[in-house]
Every structure is written in C-alpha cells, then in structure tokens.
Symmetry: C2
Subunit: 790 residues, 2 copies
C-alpha cells in the first residue's frame, strides 16, 4: 500500500524493513496505534529520530483566539487544536553509556510490522554501538482496544557479542518539542508550553504526571507501571520532575541474556473533575491493566480483533497491494472509532495533529459509513457525541438567525472552529451528513433505543434548520440559497444539489422518526403541522437541472459558468486553490471533489440509471480531485455506470498512500481509507443501502480473480464472495434476509449460500477526466506485480 | 446642516457657538481645512481638548502586515493606513502661566465659523482664567488653495480687564498621541511611534522637523515661519527636539493691547527624495508663502474661491438648512480634490483617519462626478493618479489570472488593501467606475490631451479586464460571473446588473477612444479584432430580467431569493451587517445600498422610463440604506419617477449630518455630500449627461421656491434657475450649447436666458420602503423652520 521499497507487500501486515528519514513522519502516521480514546504515533521507542512525536487523548485540545476575518456575528472567537499529551511510550536505551540512536553506530537489521489481527506493533532491530558492542532489541507495543485508558510496551535487549552495561530509561514526557503542523498559515500558536504541570510523582516502579492545558483548562493525567526482569545485578531507580517522570533500569547483561521491561501506561483527562479524581482514574486503570498483565492485554487484543475481522474482513485476490491496503486501512478506521465513546472521530483519528484534530462532516460520510457495517457500536458512540453537542448547535443556529441546530463544520468539543464564511458557516450540509449517518445506522442496526434517545433529536433539530433556512418560491418550489457543498471551489451557491438532496432525506427521516417515536417527538415540540411542513419542503425541494445538456446542475446556474481551461493548467498548479485566487475558481466550472457525484451514490435511489450515467460523465470531465475524498464517490459511480477499470483506478487512489506526502506526515486522514472500503464494497461490490433495502450489483475488474467481504446488517452477518461470472451470498449469523442482486430479489439464509450469476455489462457512456487529471491506471501485468502507468 | 443647537443655520457658513465635548470630534471633521494635499482637522488652536487630533499629507501612509484570512494568491500582504504627520497648526496660550483650556476657567463666548467664500476658519473666544484674568482670543486659519504646501494661522490675544503676562507657544508636534480609529477590528497597529525622527531645527522664528515613516519609508518635512507683533517687552525664543519644535513668545500685554502671531507652515513629503531635497522643498514653499505674507494668502484664497463659486454655486430658496449644507458640502468636495495633483481622493478627504485614508470607487462615482462639473481640473489630476497606478493594476490582474488592469478596491498608493475575497477582489466594478469617471470627464470637458494621454490607456486596460473576466454562453450571451457590486449584502453573484452595465459602457468607451486615438491605441497593442471583441461583448452582455415581475434582477437569480423579513427586524439591528451573519444576509433579497438603482441613474439611457419606474419601485422596497452612499441614487430615481417629496427626503439625508455619529468623528465621507450635490442637480434639477448630450428635467418639491445651480460643461458655464412652473437656462460663458429640457431640445446662448415651462408631472407608480426604513420626512412648516418628523 506504500509505494516505497522499505515497505513490502503483505496480505495483512504493514511492514517496514528500513528507516528512511525522508518518510519517517509518514511511517509514524501509518504505524500509529489508537483505540479512539488514546493515540500513540508510530514513533521509534527511543523517541528520536522522529518526524513528529506525539501521543493524543481524544478531546484534549488547546484554545487559540481567532482574529476574525471580518467583523460580524456568527464567527467563532477561538480555534481549537488537538495537542500532544504526556508521552508514555518512550523507552530509551543506552549500551555501555552510548545512547541507542539509529543515526549513529551501525544498523544491521530493522523490521517493524503492524498486524491488524493482533493489534500489536512489533519491532526487531540489531545494532552495533559506536563502541563496537552489538545488541538485539525487540519491542511490542499496543494501545488496548479492551481497556481504553491503556497503552503498553514490552521491550527486550539482548547483547549479541559479549556483556554490555545496559541502561533502559522508561519515561513519561510532557511538553515534548515538536515541529509546527504545516497547515496553519494564519494563527501560529504561541511558543509557550501547552501543558501546565500540576503534579509529578515516582515511587517504586510507578510514575505519574498531572497537567492542565493552559487556556482550555483540561486536566490530563498519565501514569505508568513497570515489570522488569533481567540478570542478577539488575537495578531500578525512579525520578520525577514537573514535565518528566522516569524509571531507570541498569544491568550488566551477558551475550544471549535478555533484559526485559514491560510498561503499562494509563491515560485520563477531564474538563470538570478534580486532580485527585483524575489521578484516581488513572490509578484504577493501571490497576486493572496490571491485573491483566502484558500477556492478558495481548490476548484480549487478539480476541477483540478476531471477532472484528470475522464480521468485517475484505479479501481481494489478484492484487496483493490492494489486499494489504484495504485491511490496514480498515484497521485504521476501526482504531479511529472503536473506543471513542461519546467523543468525536477526528479527521486524522489520533494519528497526528493534521487538520488541527478537528472533526468534520467527512467523519460521518466516510468513517461512520464504514463502521456502520463493520463495528456499528462505534457509530452509536460517535453520534452520541454529536447529540451531546446539540445545545451548542442550537445556540449557534440562533446566532445565525436559524431555527433548530447548526452543527459546526469543524470542531473538537462542539464549538465551531471554521472562521471564514464561504467555507465555514455556509457549509451547512454537515447537518444533513450527520442526519445521513443517523439514518444509515438506524436502518442498518434496527437500534430502536438509539433511534428514540439519540437519532430522533438529531433529526428533528437538523430538519428544523433546513426548514428555516429555505423558502418557497411563488411556484411552490423550496429553495436552499447561499450554501457551500463539499466542492469548496464553488462556495456560496443557490440550491446546491448535494445539500438539497441530503436535506431532503433529513427532512423525511425526521418526520418518519417523529412518527415512530410519537411521545418523544411531542416532548420536542413536534406536531403534525411541523412534520407535514418537513415532508412538504422535501417534496418540493429544488433540484437544478440543465434541460439543454440533460444533466443535473451542481447548483443553480452552475452549468452556465465558464468551464475551467484545463489544457492551460500545468500539472504543478494543482491543487488549484494553492495557485489560483478564489475569484478565478469560484466563477468557473471546475469541481474540487465529488459533490453532485457523491449525491448520486448516497441518494442513488433518487435518480434514474441513465440520468446517473449522464450526470457522472458530465461531472467526471470537471472534477480535478484536489481533495483525497473525491476518488471514493467517483469509484462508486464509475462502477455503477459500467466503468469497472476506472472504478478500480479510483479505488487504488483511495487506498494507496504516498509516503512522501507532507500531509500524511501529520496523520492519516481516516476518511480516505474509509472511502477505499466504500470503493471496494459499494463500488466493485455494488452494495446499496437505501431505506431498509440492501442490494448488490457486483462486478470485478479483469485484474481481480475474487473479491469477498463480510458485513453486519440488521443483526445479521453476511458474507459476499464475487468471482468473474457470479456472486455467492452466505448468511453467517441471523435470520433470513431479503436482498437484491443486480436488480433481482432473493433471500439469503443460513441454510445454504446463494450463488447468482452476474449479468453481462451494458455498453457504458464514454467518460473523460479533465486534461492531465486521469487517475493512474492500475494495470494487470504478467507476473501480477503492481505496475503504475500514466 | 447639523442637527444640534450649537450649530445655527447660515446660508453660507458653518458656525459653532459653543463647544460640546460629545460632538467635538465630529466638529473637527466638519471644520477641517484641506486643499487635497495638506489636511488640518478642525482641532482647537491650543491642541486640547480634542476629539481626534490630526494633520495629514495626501499619500503619507504606514504599511501594516496583513494576516491573510485564507492562504492563496491574490490577497494583499500589507494594509496601508493614512497616518497623522507633524502637526503645524498648534498654538498654545498661557495667561499668567495658566494654560488656556476650555475645560478650566470660565468661557464667556465661543464662536467658530468656516466661510466657504473665504476658505478661512475664524474663531473668537473670551475666557477668564482660573486666576481671574479675562482674555479675548481671535484666530484665523487656512490651508491654501493656491500654495498647496501651505497652511497658515493668525492668532491674537487681548487682555480685557487688565494687564496679563501672555505666553504663546507655536509648535510643530510629531507623533501626537491620538485615539485609535474605530473601524479597525482586526489589525490593531503597533503602539510604537509611526514617525522616526531624522532632523530637528529651530533658529530665529523658524522651526523645522524631518521624519520618516517607520515601515513605508516616506520622508515628511514640516517647517514654520512666524511673524510676531506685540507691545514693548515682547520676547521670542525657539527650541527643538526630535518630535517637537517650538517658538515661545512672551509679553506683558495691557488691557486692550494685542499680541499677534502669524504662522506659516510648509509641508512636504517624498518616497524617493533625500533629506536635503525634502528640506529644500519646504524651505522654498515657506519662502514663497512669506513673500505673499498672511494678507496675500488671504486674498489669494478669496479670489480662488470667488472664481469657484461663480462656476459652481447652488442656491436653494425655502430651506435654509439645505442651502447651508449643500454649500458647505460642496466646499468639502472641492477641498478633497482641489490640489491633490496626481494623488488619490481618499474616502474622507484629509478630514480624518476614517476608512484608513483609503480611496475607493466612491471617489470616482461621487466626488469626481461632482468635480467634473464644478472643478474639472481636479478630476484630471485624480485620474492621472489612477493612471500612475496602472503598472500595479496590471500586475494585480495577472495575479488574478486576468488580462488588462485590476484596479484596487481600496488603496492609498495603488496597492490593493482589501483582504477578504467576497468584498475585495470580487468587487471588480471599481474598474468600470474609474472608466465611468474618464468617460464623464472627457465628454464634459473635451479635454483631448487627457483623452489621448490618460483616458485611452485607462479605458483599454479596464476593457481588457472585462473581456478576460467574462465568457459567452452557447447562445452568445456574454456573462460576468462571481462578482460583487456596490451592494455588499449580495456578495459574489453572477451577472450583477450594475457591474455589467458599467462594464458595457467601459468596453464601448475603450473602443471609441481607440478609434479617436488610433496611433496611440496601436502602441498599446489594440487592433481591430480587439475593439470588435469589446463591442461584441458589450452588445451581448447579460442583463438579468425577471419576466414574471417585469423588473431587472440585481444579479442572476436575485429575485428568486427570499425577501428579508423587515417586519421582524427591530430598528436597533441596523446596519444589518453588524447584527446578522453573512449567511443570513447574502441569501436574501435585502439591499445595503443603491446598486441596480445607481445604474438606473448612471446608465439611465439604457432603460425605458416605465422600466425605470418599475425597477425603482421594486428595489426601493428592499433597500435599507445601511450605507450613507445609498440615498443619492435613490434621490435621483425618486425625482425621475415623479416622487419629488421622497427625492427631497433623500437629498436631505445626503446633506444633513448627525454630529453624534462615531463615524463622522473620524472624518467626513466626502462622497456623501457629493451625493447630496448629485441629489440636488441630477435629482431635483433632472440633469443627465449621457454621451455628448446634457439634458435637464427640473421639478421642485413644494417646499422650495427656487433652485439655481451653475456648472461647467464643454468650456461653457451654464446657470440653471428653477421655480415652480418653469426653468431658466443662462449661458454665462462660451459658445451656444444644445440642451434638452423635459425631453425637448433647445439651444442656450449668451444672448438671452431661455425660460421654459415645466410640464405637469404624471401620476407616479407607488413606492414603499422596507418596514421601519422610510427616510425622515422633510416637511414644510408654517414658519419655514425645519421640522423633522418620522
């Protein structure tokens, strides 16, 4: 999945065979471990060299005052940025008093591998110190999916060619200096430390640091417990100061002898609780982890993941690199959401500080979309977090002069962090995107309690927003004017089709949920007049259409704009927004990322097949994919409209990463591999889920011999296996399920798999990309090696 | 003109009879003296108390780095702000060592008056010091219209009730502390002094200070010469330090004796010249002024203004307050432009630091509009400045991906200072507005040299901008998408009618000018293909129209937007932009200021009369006048469509000022009284100037018995006198002139005045303003006193 010789292809594991300083930070993002609550970047155990060191706790941020671009209300007063917390994963090594550092001495072997089946990052290295002594170092690291406060490290040192004095320093380190994130041109944070020390302690083999963030006032505690085994003469000592707590182990270790350290790290934070309470919280987590012990944590982790993969594995025969990428990608999607528990899913999960740690609509549209069918409990948790933020969203809507809730376009704790009007407040589609996730989750799980306690209220308040935002024209058509859709190159337009279609679903779903939960709806002030108004607005929502071209318009008047001059745009001027002023972009037909095309997938039931093909062809020729989120929707629609090879190219674009990307260095944008899963399952697999109906229309590209995927749906587990001419549907758990295959209904049952033939593909409408923006072709080659060609 | 008891009505002079601290700063703006090069705010001679002290030199600014709201090109890197220069008008007084300060002792009388016929601000005050000694102080101040570097003060002190030791301190003071301007929410300038001292000198009765602005590096020199007369024992001394030079005069002055000081102050600045050169420049100016002496300066000033008023006076019988306001307002318009000489006309002239001293399109559309018919030489100078800035505008257009020139929406030296995209770069209409001023000036003066040297190039480069900005649709219609017109509540729209109509005129004028000056046009690369393309684009420019409503659209889709809920908007929520977020405003039908209606005036020949009436009625009901520029266009169209009383209300809104306005405190927005002149002459007088044709359609409101105005046109001077039933046209200078009166042609000649009857008015189409936004009715009352009623 990584186009770099140090990262060989493996069907399951992410493997690294040497350390390339040029891609170190990207590797740290890809080797990051997280459970959605605690995140440890894949830094080397010894802390240095590093690209960007970091440990994160979901929800811990610092506030930075914003200079508003223009006076006026509706503009946030402060930005929020996820900040690194006390780093508990550091284990430093000295060999005969020489620090173990890959930049010095000689490295004989280096191998790291992250196995999505065990959830453990394993490392083996053999190193000769400048003094000449050679040691073998092995480490294992995990962030527990079963004990959410816990990260753990096991660390072994073994001299190879004679006795050495080995010193191991296990640290908790706060306010670690780190390079500034790249994506902050305007508001450079102040240089002073983010964490203010409150308490430091070290006793026996136990360490603890407590801090508070300077402005946001969040209390963070990190504590560690150790277990040391080594030869006779092994001695330990501890020390603590405000930003550092350290256990030092020293031992004379003979050749073939092993010094082993097991380190359990507990993390806790709170905006409200006192220092003793937060301290007690990490002590308790540490006690529980110690009771499990390192072997227990390993086994819990393996069992958790075995269960996950049994419900969620994706098998791809014929393209080992994609096989690896889809599994590693799905593992990161799981890591981002697994144990968030009423916190946001940040854009980069907890893999790095990119996007300032904000959560945006992409979490709902991509990450929660995938988790709905693979780890649905995580979806309920993330949407509970959105539910918690409703009071802020209600206040924000009122500030914007709107009814209902206006969820923020970028946030950590629920407060809007996007300052600029065209991109921030106008991007109201986030509300319908959250509603989409609610609708999808509820329909996919039949979680009636969630529907009643969480879903209803989210749907009602967002529906109210749309009704107050829009207006009827004299002909009775309902318009939503002056909004920005996902395509940020077309800010502030009237009747953005994506927004209107998503709002339409939102309005109807709110009315349906109110009918299902009539008593609760009454308590929210919903009456028949209101649900009727929602249904009426939904029925009459404007869907701009160009009669001459026979295609939908991305927004009113869009197809009347001048087409961007793609031929005159050199390759090095992409992404366009970094090289052309808004005045150039926003009055042209040029699409940053799938916008209308994404609606063709998410609201596919609202379009005739021939219309989808025309719309896809029209927008395909305008879409430059300046956002990595774009390829997912294009992959799905390419597959649906018969462009299977193109779909596969886009699928690969979602899943394969460029380690030289400065963006990847700041964390993995989880929505992108999530989009890769969608490209596989909804693209090649042709899965569609509208209302209560689950349907498939699988079709493989020539390259693939077999595609199989497993998913959860309405308390069933369903496995779909696709080969060239047919697909087999196997119900692994649950009662019979009515499904559709290429437009024909059938029933899947646990009795026997259902094998159905795939009808021949019709001739597709030709499509073309903008000049110079064709995706990399992913071709079949004789020896099945990956070939990248333009 | 000032609704405050301390400012009585006078047919010519602005008079102040007491000092009200609450309106002191506004009075300083209104009593400001300027010649367009030097500006002295109307501060009290003794410097304090003050609202906002200041002396300005046109073009002297400091640069402040801007934090861009969003990354991307096309955004300026620095803001420019007009800064106060060394203040030469200060004359402090001590009576028996007690400082003369209105806040202490007792004031028996205070009167200031600014006479537009003499250009002198005169002051008389009688004051008893806390010690009990009473003095009479008289001062006269002018900023010379004939010697542009010169300001001058005459100052007399006379003890009333016994001998006093009088001390007068005449100062040059740099880096005077001043309150921050109100309108800078985002970029507070640093607190350090703006002017860096370079030289200070005092010898005999002569003072001199030389400074440089810290970042923009402009050298500023101010020097003063004095003439002192007083009783025996009068002694003088001088001193100088980096930021202060002072002449001190002391004398024992008996009752009835007078100590008199005459102070001549010369100002100079340069971005390029050396310290000795700038110093020589002010020394030379001072020598010339000294040769004229105070009486000479007074006489030159009077003669200059006598000539001006002979060509420009406006007489209004029946409303003394309006009579005063239109004259004082026109005097300020003259002051803003008279001697700018290849510098900008800032939005506040040189009356205060408001709008940061920037020049915007309002200078061309309002101020130069008026000067074209009253002081045309000043217009040529201001447009020569725009011509000087073309190289920067050509670079800026290239940065925006456009051909031709993109003149800045706000600037001091030609560099764009507006950072925010919707309001700044998208407000491209400034280019057509400058072209409008070129077309108007050229047609009104037949200045062929200007046409050839200046006008042609401005027109060609702006026409090129429009051609590159626009595109033809498949039907051949030419569109200008994604721009912002004068109405800032409707940012970034397609085919803004105002912009399109002004661009249409721009394109045609460029083609015409190229044909008139074929050789110069060839040198600019203009060929027949290009002029044909301009004419074609002009011919096919989109003019959005709503067939259902039978009105033009302010921009494409505008009439499809929801109408703002005016009934639900309390009076204290205006101006709307300070209380509602852009998301609320920009998707609604609500008009900040006349936009389409202004086009109905400026491009009136493009509309049928009945269409204008329908369009005016439609937009009148949506226009909230949140900009003081709005009422002018509304006055003109109200008059044209038969709403004479409404026109008069709007005329009064342009001309009468509110001294409590914090905005007025920072300087007089010159475009507003200029709009008042337009409301009188084009509104009540019905003057239209399209192409070479000058026409009138005068009609008086009931209140006025007579209206007379004089103007310059094509080397003639024409006087128009309107009474209830007829108008008389008198050609005061120049050959016969073909004119139109209420649609009928006639010829004015110097032989005899032409008196023509005014036809009866037709029944107008009813109009209504938004709820709560009706202008103050200016009613007739029995004793002809002004009555303000809601």
């Amino acid at each position: 999945m990584i186009g770099h010789p140090a990262y060989p292809v493996d069907p399951w594991c992410l493997v690294e065979t040497r350390v390339d300083p040029a891609v170190l930070a990207s590797a740290e993002s890809l080797f990051a471990l997280s459970n959605g609550h605690v995140g440890w970047r894949g830094n080397l155990d010894e802390g240095e060299p590093h690209g960007l060191p970091g440990s994160y706790l979901n929800g811990v941020f610092e506030a930075y005052p914003l200079a508003p671009a223009a006076p006026g209300c509706g503009v946030p007063e402060a930005d929020q940025r996820m900040v690194g917390v006390t780093d508990g994963k550091i284990v430093r090594l000295l060999v005969d008093d020489q620090p173990f550092d890959l930049r010095y001495g000689r490295l004989h072997g280096h191998r790291r591998s992250l196995d999505p089946r065990t959830g453990v990052l394993q490392r083996e290295v053999e190193w000769t110190a400048p003094s000449g002594r050679t040691v073998r170092v092995r480490s294992w690291r995990l962030v527990s999916l079963t004990q959410r406060a816990i990260g753990a490290v096991a660390y072994e040192v073994e001299p190879v060619d004679g006795e050495a004095r080995i010193t191991v320093q296990s640290e908790l380190l706060a306010n670690q200096p780190a390079p500034e994130p790249r994506n902050d041109p305007q508001n450079d944070p102040p240089a002073e430390p983010v964490l203010v020390a409150e308490e430091h302690a070290a006793e026996g083999t136990r360490l603890r640091l407590v801090h508070r963030t300077a402005r946001s006032g969040l209390r963070v505690a990190v504590a560690a417990e150790h277990r040391v085994s080594g030869p006779d003469g092994t001695a330990t000592a501890v020390e603590a100061e405000p930003d550092l707590a350290r256990l030092t182990v020293t031992a004379p270790v003979g050749a073939g002898q092993v010094l082993r350290l097991e380190k359990l790290v507990a993390h806790g934070w709170s905006a409200a609780r006192s220092r003793p309470a937060v301290r007690a919280q990490v002590d308790a987590a540490l006690a529980a982890a110690a009771a499990s012990g390192w072997p227990g944590l390993l086994e819990e982790q393996r069992a958790y993941l075995e269960e996950f993969w049994a419900r969620a594995d994706v098998e791809v025969d014929g393209d080992a690199e994609i096989q690896q990428a889809v599994r590693v990608g799905l593992f990161h999607v799981l890591q981002a959401g697994a144990r968030g528990e009423e916190r946001a899913v940040p854009a980069r999960g907890l893999t790095g500080p990119g996007d300032r740690g904000h959560c945006s609509y992409a979490s709902e549209l991509y990450v929660l979309h995938v988790l709905t069918y693979t780890a649905p409990a995580a979806v309920a948790q993330a949407l509970r977090w959105r539910h918690h933020t409703l009071p802020a969203a209600l206040r924000r809507a009122a500030g914007l002069g709107l009814a209902g809730a206006a969820l923020p376009s970028r946030t950590i704790d629920g407060a809007e962090c996007a300052g600029s009007w065209p991109g921030g407040p106008a991007a109201l589609h986030v509300n319908a995107d959250v509603a989409e996730a609610v609708v999808r989750y509820t329909a996919a799980t039949d979680d009636l309690l969630f529907d009643r306690e969480i879903g209803l209220e989210l749907l009602v308040h967002t529906a109210r927003l749309w009704l107050s935002l829009g207006h009827h024209d004299p002909a009775g058509v309902f318009h939503l004017d002056g909004v920005t859709g996902p395509d940020e190159y077309a800010a502030v337009a009237d009747d953005n089709l994506f927004t209107n279609l998503m709002a339409q679903q939102n309005l109807r779903a709110a009315a349906d949920a109110a009918e299902r939960n009539a008593d609760r709806a009454v308590a929210l002030g919903v009456d028949d007049e209101e649900t009727a108004a929602w249904r009426d607005a939904a029925l009459h929502l404007a869907l701009p259409y160009d009669d001459l071209l026979g295609v939908h318009q991305q927004a009113d008047r869009f197809t009347g704009h001048q087409v961007w001059d793609f031929e005159a745009t050199p390759a090095d001027r992409y992404p366009l927004a970094e090289h052309y002023p808004p005045l150039q972009l926003h009055r042209r037909q040029v699409v940053q990322q799938a916008d209308l095309v994404l609606a063709l997938y998410l609201r596919g039931e609202a379009f005739a097949a021939a219309q989808k093909a025309r719309d896809f062809a029209y927008y395909e020729a305008l879409t430059v994919r300046d956002s990595p989120l774009s390829a997912c929707g294009q992959a799905v629609l390419a597959a649906e409209t018969g462009h299977t090879a193109l779909a596969y190219d886009y699928l690969a674009e979602c899943l394969l990463v460029d380690p030289a990307s400065p963006d990847l260095a700041e964390g993995l944008p989880t929505a992108v591999p999530a989009g890769g899963w969608i490209a596989v399952v909804a693209g090649l697999g042709g899965m569609r889920h509208h209302g209560d109906t689950l349907s498939f229309a699988p079709r493989l590209p020539d390259r693939l011999g077999r595609l199989a995927f497993t998913l959860c749906f309405q308390r069933r587990v369903l496995r779909v296996e696709v080969v060239a001419g047919s697909a087999e549907y196997t119900l692994l758990e649950g009662p019979d399920l009515d499904l559709w295959h290429h437009g024909e209904p059938f029933t899947a049952s646990r009795q026997a798999p259902e094998r159905l033939a795939i009808p021949p593909a019709a001739e597709p409408l030709p499509v073309v990309q903008p000049y110079g923006r064709r995706p990399v072709r992913r071709r079949w080659s004789a020896d099945r090696e990956t070939v990248h060609e333009e």
